[in-house]
Amino acid sequence: MNGSRAFLRNLNQERIVFIVAVLIFGAAVIGLPGFLTAANLISIVRSIAVLGILALGMSVVIIGRGIDLSMVAVMAMSVAWYLQLLGDGMPDHMALALVLGGVLVIGFINGFLVAYAEVPAIFVTLASGAFVFGYVRSQLIPSDAVAVPSGHWVELLGGVRYLGIPIEVFLFLALAGAMFVFLRFTKWGRYVYYAGDNPVAARNMGIPVRPMLVLRYVLAAVTAFLAGLLTAASLHSINTRVVNSTLLYDIVLVAVIGGIGLSGGKGGVRNVLVGAALIGIMLNAMTIIDISLLYQNLIKSTILLFAIIVDGLLNPRDEQTAQQGDI
């Protein structure tokens, strides 16, 4: 049949994942009592919001053929330091400026080392993440968790709701919208795709590939900081132990499973939304079924592995240039 063939041809990863998400959602609605309640749905979107924001930042880097493993460390440590400074009595605007400055510097150093020193992104960001965690934890904050000072705007932010939906959901959607506009309609956003698809060709054509690389890592660091603020807002504190959790893998999982190829140049905000939806629904369902955290991690890691294998098959990094042969 013509129709079904056209359907199969258009069946890319994004659509498959979307269908799977809908199926899981349907199964959960039927099979799990208490899943389809307003409170639970809100808790799903709320859990996706922070993860989704982090995945947005990660995606911009991945589309440009990089990866940022320092995001979770930047997220937790920047906010922890910020709250600590507030607790120590520093004026809010000064503390914010100082922390934001630190975040920008980390993003800049990541980008600089990847772009100009040409160190592989995975090592640069692994090291910078570990450094950020170690330095802030040992030098700047005295304990693992830092509480939000009572009455501070971050605490108030956590309580804001509109139509019963927590504010971070709207912030996530707004950020997704902004990222969509950036990637699709601005010159710098377009450069991300050219550099991700073929960095050599992009450079030869006159695109400032290296400065743009730096920009992307700075962008990722800033999104991480925002995600950290939202985490602190909903929990009234930030626990730096999150750096050693599986959150980082969840971020990569959301991006990759949504169809953002690790080989670069592919995907967009829609993929992040789809990936975040699937992961959010799945995690929630697993929690309701009361699968233990150990098994949840096992399931997630299996899915991530599977997604990366599928990604490798769908988006091979080298299209067998070697097979062409010279004449």
Binding site: R184, F185, T186, K187, R190, Y191, Y193, Y194, D197, N198, V200, A201, A202, R203, N204, M205, G206, I207, P208, R210, G265, K266, E319, T321, Q324, G325, D326, I327
Partner: protein, 502 residues
């Protein structure tokens, strides 16, 4: 034929086509036992392809090959190596981070390998070949000549009876070359048969027993070396039959006059690839640049386009419109109106996942020609429409991804990506490589039109008819420098080739 010499390899009617374009056509070739056989021809004549078929690197489209009297067909280089045919590549295939000894035994290790054991046997083996190489040295620390020795030792170690050398002397110093030739003679004395591919005619005349010359994938001459001399070889290499319509004799009375001098290069150098060379490019004409592989022709112009950086000290000077420039990124060159159309469109030309329109738009964007703050998909569509029409890019629809196009149409996209930047100088590097005949004519027309419109056009090519047919002046490049400038009035294929080979 002398009945005492038997062919160790006999190839009959070998044809190899890449995407239905034949690289070699119906070639008969035989290699006698214990001879050094030089295989000569221009770039793209099919030398590498023929030997790759012999060594199992590529499979012949048709034809027969027999080895030691038995018909064979090698599916992989490994099979050929097992049988005793080894190929020493232009780019060495050693593992740089391993020691010489480890490389020697690579692929033939026992399950348990004692390092000391292989060092001792490697030492003995290298000594038996009279190679002064330390088996414990890292390959990455070795010079080109010693690496080659390791490659050769590896071939001998596998008891290869046939060794194919693809451009072995290109990277060697004169001293190293002498050692290399001595080695070839020693191998020959051991009964090894050798195929020697080279651009250096003198070397071929000096070392070889027989010579075979290919041209455009066909065998044009073969015979004992004593029957050849330099002039005869060059005549055979370039004497062309297939030219036909596409490369009809050019009317040299209507050369384009040089306009303003756009580019002036004085004494630029870059490492060992570009050595102290000077040249100029003028508006309104096509400057053809001829050079063989490794002559530095691409590197020179990549420096001009800001892709490579010339040496910081004693790197020479480049003037664009009498204004000295030193580019650190291609962005600066693009802003100055220089577009470079790459010879390697797959790895540095096209954006594979993107449509024709997005590819073209990339050039537009990079040149800073997008004025609006917001990019409209309409602009991309319009550009795609305009340029597919202008360059006659044949496609099912404008949303087609570039990978889905034929080589010729991909090349037109790459050209369009450059032209959309409104350059004043366009550098075409091998503009018709891997392009079908119909598209070649169209691309040539595009190049001519650009020159007629007053742009400065540079066309780098290793295909002589292309150079002869399009250029208004011809620069010949050899060993990292422009060695000769010829006018098409006086130039002949023989003269150009004479300047290009050493």
């Amino acid at each position: 034929m002398d009945p005492t010499v038997r062919p160790i390899v006999k190839m009959e009617q070998i044809t190899k086509a890449y995407r239905s374009v034949p690289a070699v056509k119906d070639v008969d070739f035989d290699l006698h036992e214990g001879e050094i056989h030089a295989l000569l021809g221009e770039n793209g004549a099919g030398k590498s392809t023929l030997t790759k078929v012999m060594a199992g690197v590529v499979e012949a489209t048709s034809g027969h090959m027999s080895y030691l009297g038995k018909p064979v067909q090698f599916a992989t280089p490994h099979e050929a190596l097992q049988a005793g045919i080894a190929m020493v590549f232009q780019e060495t295939s050693l593992v740089p981070s391993m020691t010489v000894a480890q490389n020697l035994y690579l692929g033939s290790e026992k399950f348990l390998n004692r390092l000391r054991g292989i060092y001792i046997s490697a030492q003995q083996f290298l000594q038996s070949l009279n190679f002064p190489v330390d088996p414990a040295a890292m390959v990455e620390a070795l010079g080109a000549a010693k690496r080659q020795m390791v490659e050769i030792a590896r071939a001998v170690h596998h008891e290869a009876r046939v060794i194919i050398f693809d451009e072995p002397t290109a990277t060697l110093t004169p001293e190293e070359k002498r050692h290399f030739f001595a080695l070839l003679r020693r191998l020959k004395a051991r009964g090894v048969s050798i195929v020697f591919i080279s651009h250096a005619l003198e070397e071929a005349l000096m070392i070889s027993d027989r010579i075979t010359i290919l041209r455009d994938g066909e065998l044009v001459a073969t015979g004992p070396t004593a029957d050849f001399d330099r002039e005869k070889i060059i005549a055979a290499m370039v004497g062309r039959t297939l030219s036909g319509e596409l490369y009809s004799k050019r009317d040299v009375t209507h050369l384009r006059k040089p306009g303003r001098k756009v580019l002036s290069v004085q004494d630029i150098s870059m490492g060992a690839m570009v050595r102290n060379t000077s040249f100029s490019v003028f508006e309104g004409q096509i400057t053809g640049v001829f050079g063989l592989i490794g002559s530095g022709r691409t590197e020179m112009f990549k420096i001009v386009a800001g892709i490579y950086k010339r040496d910081f000290l004693r790197g020479g000077a480049i003037d664009i419109d009498d204004r000295p420039v030193r580019y650190y990124t291609p962005t600066q060159a693009v802003r100055d109106g220089i577009a470079y159309v790459t010879e390697d469109r797959k790895s540095e030309g096209i954006f594979e996942t993107m449509s024709i329109g997005e590819n073209l738009f990339g050039g537009f964007l990079a040149a800073g020609r997008e004025q609006g703050l917001v990019i409209k998909s309409r602009t991309i569509r319009d550009l795609a429409e305009e340029w597919t029409g202008r360059l006659n890019i044949k496609t099912i629809n404008a949303d087609a991804r570039v990978v889905e196009l034929s080589g010729g149409n991909q090349q037109k996209v790459v050209i369009g990506k450059g032209l959309i930047q409104k350059p004043r100088m366009v550098i075409f590097d091998e503009p018709t490589r891997g392009v079908d005949v119909a598209a070649i004519a169209e691309i040539h027309q595009i190049i001519k039109d650009l020159a007629d419109q007053g742009l400065a056009v540079v066309m780098i090519s290793s295909y002589l008819p292309e150079i002869m047919n399009l250029s208004d002046r011809i620069l010949v490049c050899r060993q990292g420098r422009i060695v000769e400038e010829l006018s098409p009035v006086e130039a002949t294929e023989e003269k150009i080739m004479y300047a290009a080979v050493h």
